[in-house]
């Protein structure tokens, strides 16, 4: 029977199936970070259990690492959390990329760049943006701390089969419109919960034409419309990205792997439970105006009239009035970073916009590369010099102001143009106001000091 990509990924990981019970799935890669793991390791220790497959587990420090001044700049609780992770990894033999090491970075950036994220795998992490890895044709989703403990102990996870949803995006992206605008435009249509209980496959000519970085941006934000996972079938773009990465198969193993990877595609005639179509050619650069990612509109427009209590609350929090042109909204801060948009291609796109220009005098802007590897690569091609010359702060890798667990936060009332994934109340700092957008759009806002259509600058 013809099967979807998601069904094939699911079926190839079933350890055990029994009527009336969830399927028991095997996890190929378990990514671990400092914030959602300490209680899981403690649970193991109290029960006298150990990590079953430390060789299929990788830890990094990202959520609360300082982005300047080294590990010692962290507050005492953050430092303690990092120490506890290091100790847990030492005791259980789990490889760890700790702060200051060559390959440290955001967990969803380092997995792919190391070549550990490969088609056909099942990947979990105690972090909702684990859906990022689906860009490689993997089944990847976020789990809670109790599930982290379960996977550490057994390398397995009982899961009830989710439904299939296809999002087909066709057509060429207009100039200035990016993968971020595709996913923001999509969430603007679906709202924040349509994806609940669904494994989403992104397909169509637009998706095929995207780089791996663009596909990761889209899969990353699957969770923002409630989806359990997002994925893209692997193709030559995927294989070209993976080839010669540190953990990619080599020699004859590479050829075998590619043959196997090609089988992870939806068969013709396979049926999805639900389908959504999006025309890329009519998309414009998007910005969010509210406090959830579904409150979003093309930057050419105006702040909309509230259609619900939620909208009205959001406008009050954001201190915005319906009818205001987006281009009239001044900003205080710019954040280019996060697991959504802090890969080399994102930094290049932002640098392209600001090259030869300067950050507006009233704006404080920063770039936080997604990983130490991204930072190094950007410096090798001189992107850091472009950012610094324009007046951007050039920081070390981490989650930083995407969630503000480290000192990088907005002051109350500050308004930020951000390339991250969530505009929730207080997300980037209590009382802070977030407008989500693409890296080129954030760069353009940095230069003009207000929300602006990047197409006016390029």
């Amino acid at each position: 029977m013809p099967a979807t990509l998601a069904q094939k990924l699911w079926d190839s990981h079933v350890v055990r199936t029994s009527p009336g019970e969830p399927d028991l799935l095997y996890v190929d890669l378990h990514l671990v970070h400092e914030v959602t793991s300490p209680q899981a390791f403690e649970g193991l220790r109290l029960a006298g259990r150990h990590v079953r497959r430390p060789d299929l587990t990788l830890a990094t420090m990202d959520h609360n690492v300082p982005t300047r001044g080294g590990a010692r700049a962290a507050d005492e609780l953050s430092r303690k959390q990092m120490e506890v992770l290091a100790e847990n990894c030492r005791r259980e033999g789990i490889p760890l990329h700790q702060i200051g090491s060559r390959r440290q970075g955001i967990v969803h950036v380092i997995g792919p760049e190391l070549g550990l994220t490969q088609p056909g795998m099942l990947i979990v992490c105690g972090d909702s943006h684990t859906s990022t890895h689906g860009a490689f044709g993997a089944l990847a989703f976020g789990i809670g701390t109790s599930e982290v403990e379960l996977v550490l102990a057994t390398q397995c996870l009982p899961q009830t089969r989710a439904r299939d949803l296809a999002v087909t995006v066709d057509g060429e992206l207009p100039l200035g419109v990016t993968a971020k605008d595709v996913v923001l435009g999509l969430i603007g249509r679906t709202g924040t919960s349509l994806g609940q209980g669904h494994l989403v496959e992104y397909r169509g000519s637009t998706i095929r034409g995207l780089s791996m970085e663009g596909r990761m941006t889209i899969c990353n934000m699957s969770i923002e419309w409630g989806a359990k996972a997002g994925m893209v079938a692997p193709d030559d773009t995927t294989f070209a990205y993976l080839e010669r990465r540190p953990y990619a198969p080599r020699g004859t193993a590479w050829d075998g792997a590619v043959d196997r990877w090609r089988s992870f595609a939806t068969d013709s005639g396979a049926v999805y439970d639900q389908e959504i179509h999006l025309d890329a050619t009519s998309l414009e650069p998007h910005v969010t105006w509210g406090t959830n990612p579904g409150q979003v509109a093309p930057v050419t427009g105006r702040v909309p009239e509230p259609r619900s209590d939620t909208d009205a609350r959001a406008l009050r929090y954001m201190d915005l009035r319906a009818g205001t042109a987006f281009a009239d909204i001044a900003i205080d801060r710019v954040f280019i970073g996060s697991c959504t948009n802090a890969r080399l291609e994102d930094l290049r796109a932002a640098a392209h916009v600001i090259a030869g220009k300067h950050v507006h005098p009233k704006v404080r802007a920063m770039v936080v590369p997604g990983s130490t590897t991204v930072k190094r690569a950007a410096e090798e091609e001189g992107l850091d010099a472009i950012f610094k010359a324009a007046g951007f702060e050039w920081r070390n890798a981490g989650c930083s102001m995407c969630l503000g667990m480290n000192p990088d936060i907005l002051a109350p009332g500050e308004r930020c143009a951000s390339t991250s994934n969530r505009n929730f109340e207080g997300r980037q700092g209590a009382g802070g106001r977030t407008h989500l957008m693409s890296p080129p759009m954030a760069a353009a806002a940095a230069v003009t000091g207000h929300l602006v259509d990047v197409r006016e600058l390029i």
């Binding site: 350890v15 055990r16 009336g20 969830p22 028991l24 095997y26 914030v35 959602t36 209680q39 403690e42 029960a47 259990r49 430390p54 060789d55 299929l56 990788l58 959520h63 303690k80 959390q81 506890v84 033999g93 490889p95 550990l116 490969q118 105690g126 972090d127 909702s128 989703f141 976020g142 809670g144 701390t145 109790s146 599930e147 379960l150 102990a153 057994t154 397995c156 009982p158 009830t160 924040t192 919960s193 609940q196 969770i223 409630g226 953990y247 990619a248 075998g256 792997a257 196997r260 209590d309 939620t310 969630l403 503000g404 667990m405 969530r422 929730f424 109340e425 207080g426 997300r427 209590a430």
Partner: protein, 196 residues
């Protein structure tokens, strides 16, 4: 985990949709390495407003949180259900929950149940008029009952068994050791393993 069969108590209304886990427990309180002690920080930013519903004296001591759709969206932090439980709630009723949050509730022994929008609206109206109104969320009979109503709810059968039995899920999975070992033996050899 303690078995969870039913929760009886007063309700507290949080009449908002799309409540994300950043609101439930803001990030500055995620730095603890314990599973407990999060109660005082539940809805920390919202509670700074004196008129926030959960601050009102009549809702203190409530054990059933009644709230809008897509509750618990956003971050996977299990600290969210830990904080809700620590603050004294034992059940949450909403038209829908975000997937990861719902799974986390079950693992934490929080009885999260979904009812249709109209029935949730009835409960919010009821408790807004009469804060002393009690409900029973009964997992065995799959009902939310009050003085003059009984609403049936659906719940994942396996999650229900785990809650009713107070089952240790790791122990349950460990029983399938031979199936796990057999699966490991047939995994593709080229799949990556992480080197130290």
């Amino acid at each position: 985990m303690e078995p969870v069969k039913r929760v009886t108590g007063r309700m507290a209304p949080l009449d908002r949709a799309d409540v994300d886990t950043d609101q439930i427990i803001p990030k500055q309180f995620l730095k603890r390495i314990e599973r407990t002690g999060y109660g005082p920080f539940l809805f920390y930013d919202w509670r700074q407003a004196p008129d926030f519903a959960l601050n009102r004296p009549e809702y203190q001591g409530a054990s059933v949180l009644v709230t809008g759709a897509n509750f618990g969206c956003g971050s996977s932090r299990e600290h969210a259900p830990w904080a809700i439980r620590d603050a004294g709630y034992r059940a949450i009723i909403s038209p829908s929950f975000a997937d990861i949050f719902l799974a986390n509730c079950y693992k934490t022994g929080l009885l999260a149940v979904t009812l249709p929008e109209g029935q949730v609206r009835h409960l919010i109206d009821l408790v807004s008029e009469d804060p002393t109104a009690e409900v029973t969320v009964d997992l065995e009979s799959q009902q939310v009952r009050g003085e003059a109503f009984a609403y049936r709810f659906e719940i994942d059968a396996f999650a229900r068994d785990c809650l009713l039995g107070g089952l240790d899920e790791i122990g349950l999975v460990e029983r399938h050791e031979s199936a796990i070992a057999a699966f490991e033996a047939r995994r593709d050899a080229w799949l990556p393993a992480v080197r130290s």
